[in-house]
């Protein structure tokens, strides 16, 4: 065990994780524990979006450019569920319902996101897959580009360009942890991301469907041979991935009001994570979410906002030079290479 641990430490993954922990510790001592708190909250949500993206890459072989739009759909759904609920609750106060309303909003966002994802698979990817599998990665990527344009502008056309936001989800005094004030919304957002990630992990490891999804990601033909319902799995995977993004969007509605291009930042960050850790690597995406969140927080803290794209790009260049398969390498590299 110690030897294996030592060799892991010397690998790219080990070095990066150690470096991240060191950086986090240094910044926390230097600037204060709020760095750690901000990293945890942003990281959880980034991880949710990136896991969805990695899932689509690994299982469906779709390099999705539209993933941020499901984040946007999540914010939109949560807004339209939460606002009337909130208005009703201000007239008829009910402490139990007040605490429950945000959860209802986030849950309905998850459902709407899943429905949108399933529809996308049925209406867009399935016809494409039936017609041609040639150059699939590039063609499906372009499809998602078109879809992103349509969804962003459909939001603009139907719901308008103004910010549709809420003041807060959970009323009440902020919590204090390590002398840092954390608003209830941020705390619950972090909690939700952790719960969803654990549930997702259990689902992938423990259930039959989860196993089937992993089987499809390893070998499509093989999974067909052992009797897996491929069409169903593809629809389900798409729904699952999009639903994760929608949950992230809904939980962060208090930070990012809903407007047509709200998903772009989430999309950039998710892609950044996925390239950094290796395409299609789901566990890597989880770790990468927190690493990139730290990087983002540190960039804003030490260099200033607006540089958040320059620093990640520089980092990606380094990764691509030295380790093109990503820090953690990708297990499903073969699937993508077809």
């Amino acid at each position: 065990m110690p030897e294996r641990f030592l060799s892991w430490l010397k690998s790219a993954a080990g070095i990066t994780i150690l470096l991240t922990i060191f950086l986090a510790a240094y910044a926390t001592i230097d600037r204060g524990p709020y760095i750690l708190v901000n990293t945890a909250i942003t990281g959880g949500m980034l991880a949710l979006v990136a896991i969805g993206l990695a899932l689509l890459l690994g299982v469906m072989n779709v390099a999705s450019f539209v993933h941020g739009e499901y984040f946007m759909i999540g914010t939109l759904a949560a807004y339209y569920v939460f606002t009337p609920l909130n208005a009703y609750l201000t007239e008829n106060p009910n402490p139990f319902l007040t605490n429950l309303a945000p959860l209802i909003a986030i849950l309905s966002a998850a459902v709407v996101g899943a429905a949108a994802g399933a529809l996308t698979e049925v209406l867009v990817f399935a016809p494409m897959r039936r017609r041609s599998r040639e150059n699939w990665v590039m063609n499906s990527f372009l499809l998602t580009v078109g879809l992103a344009v349509v969804l962003i502008n459909a939001h603009l056309l139907i719901f308008g360009a103004d910010f549709k936001g809420i003041v807060r989800y959970w009323p009440g005094r902020p919590f204090t942890i390590m002398d840092v004030f954390i608003s209830r919304d941020r705390f619950f957002a972090f909690l939700i991301s952790i719960v969803v990630i654990i549930a997702f992990w259990l689902f992938m490891k423990m259930t039959r469907t989860g196993r089937a999804i992993r089987a499809v990601s390893q070998d499509e033909t093989g999974s067909l041979m052992v009797g897996i319902n491929l069409t169903g799995i593809l629809i389900f995977t798409m729904a699952l991935g999009c639903s994760l993004a929608a949950v992230a969007g809904a939980s962060l509605l208090f930070l990012y009001p809903s407007y047509p291009t709200v998903g772009l930042e989430a999309l950039y960050m998710a892609w950044f994570i996925v390239i950094l850790v290796g395409l299609g690597n789901i566990i890597g995406a989880l770790t990468g979410g927190f690493m990139v969140a730290l990087l983002k927080v540190l960039t804003v803290e030490y260099i200033g906002s607006g540089w958040d794209f320059v620093v990640p790009t520089a980092l990606i260049i380094i990764v691509l030079i030295f380790k093109p398969s990503g820090i953690f390498g990708s297990e499903v590299r073969g699937a993508l290479e077809k």
Binding site: V124, M128, V137, G146, W271, F309, P312, T313, L320, L336
Partner: protein
């Protein structure tokens, strides 16, 4: 075969193509196109058309989507503009410097990503584009950031007609360069890589070398366009590097027909004019023109991957009438 046919054949132009160019050349004098706003639309259509040719040179042949196309174009524009503003260099030379800078960036991005799978190049170009846009916004001392950099214009007239002709010539130049390269031996290598990389590699083609060559050339041409953009609009903001602009060129190139070069240019004019009409006519429905874009792109990608060029080649290109056949295909017409 007349000498004229030989020249046309060498230039990869058909009599129909020449007719199209002549129509475009006289268009600004024919009502309703002789109004200034129409000419401005025509110029932006020609810019998109030229961009679509340079984009298709990469996307249609080596199957790499340059997702930072407009960022690289913007880099060319900014280089030329900064040289003109800070050092008083005449725009005519500055444009060339811009093209070289854009080409160098393309070379670097290519060296970094083109040995990997295609999606890396697309995403990397996208990230480089975002970083460039961030830099252009943040380096206010050099670019004046979102306020916009005022640039000297190419001509000292208020009329747009000279710009239109420069743009048309630039478009023709880009088409001639791209079609010359793709019809040469190098072009065959490009096609081989785009269709089946393993087979190309087996035949002794070094894919990385040819992909980088292609990518660099495409970026150089983009830089050239960027220089024109900067000195035509007279003001340059970081918005020029936005991904949405790349998506516009991408949609036109794919709807026009990948791998045809002329397809994107041919549909750009009617397409952009129609889009401008939709946008200005239905201003109470914002975003509708872009929804049409997106839906068309999705539709073409799924049901008609060859785009307009494939449609043209299948149904229109080979009529029975010999004169018409000559008109559409030049002296290389199939019987």
């Amino acid at each position: 075969m007349t000498p004229m046919d030989k020249v046309l054949g060498k230039l990869n132009l058909t009599p129909a193509g020449i007719l199209g160019l002549v129509i475009l050349a006289v268009l600004p004098f024919i009502p309703p196109f002789n109004q200034e706003y129409m000419i401005r639309w025509l110029i932006s259509a020609a810019l998109i058309a030229a961009g679509a040719i340079a984009f298709d040179f990469t996307a249609g042949f080596i199957n790499i989507v340059n997702f930072g196309f407009y960022a690289i174009l913007g880099l060319g524009g900014y280089t030329s503009a900064i040289l003109a503003v800070n050092y008083g260099l005449t725009p005519w030379i500055g444009v060339l410097c811009g093209a070289v800078t854009a080409g160098l960036l393309g070379l670097l991005v290519g060296l970094l990503t083109l040995r990997l799978r295609g999606i890396f190049a697309a995403v990397m170009a996208w990230f480089v584009g975002l970083a460039l846009m961030g830099l252009a916004t943040k380096m206010v001392w050099l670019t004046r950031g979102p306020l916009g950099l005022r640039t000297p214009r190419l001509f000292e007239t208020a009329s747009n007609i000279p710009y239109y002709y420069v743009m048309l010539l630039l478009m023709l130049f880009i088409y001639l360069v791209c079609s010359w390269v793709t019809s040469s031996k190098v072009g065959i290598a490009f096609k081989a890589i785009g269709q089946n990389m393993d087979a190309a590699r087996t035949s002794g083609i070094n894919p990385t070398y040819y992909r980088i060559l292609n990518f660099t050339l495409s970026c150089t041409l983009a830089g050239l366009l960027g220089g024109f953009y900067a000195h035509y609009y007279g003001i340059l903001t970081p918005d020029i590097m936005h991904t949405a602009k790349t998506v516009e060129v991408l949609a036109v190139a794919y709807i026009g027909g990948r791998g045809s070069l002329w397809g994107g240019a041919a549909i750009a004019f009617p397409f952009i004019l129609a889009m401008e009409l939709v946008r200005s006519g239905l201003s109470n429905l914002p975003g509708l023109n872009l929804i049409i874009y997106g839906l068309l792109l999705i539709f073409v990608m799924i049901y008609y991957p060859g785009g307009f060029a494939q449609f043209f080649d299948t149904y229109i290109r080979h009529p029975k009438n010999r004169a018409l056949n000559y008109f559409l295909n030049g002296s290389t017409a199939r019987a």
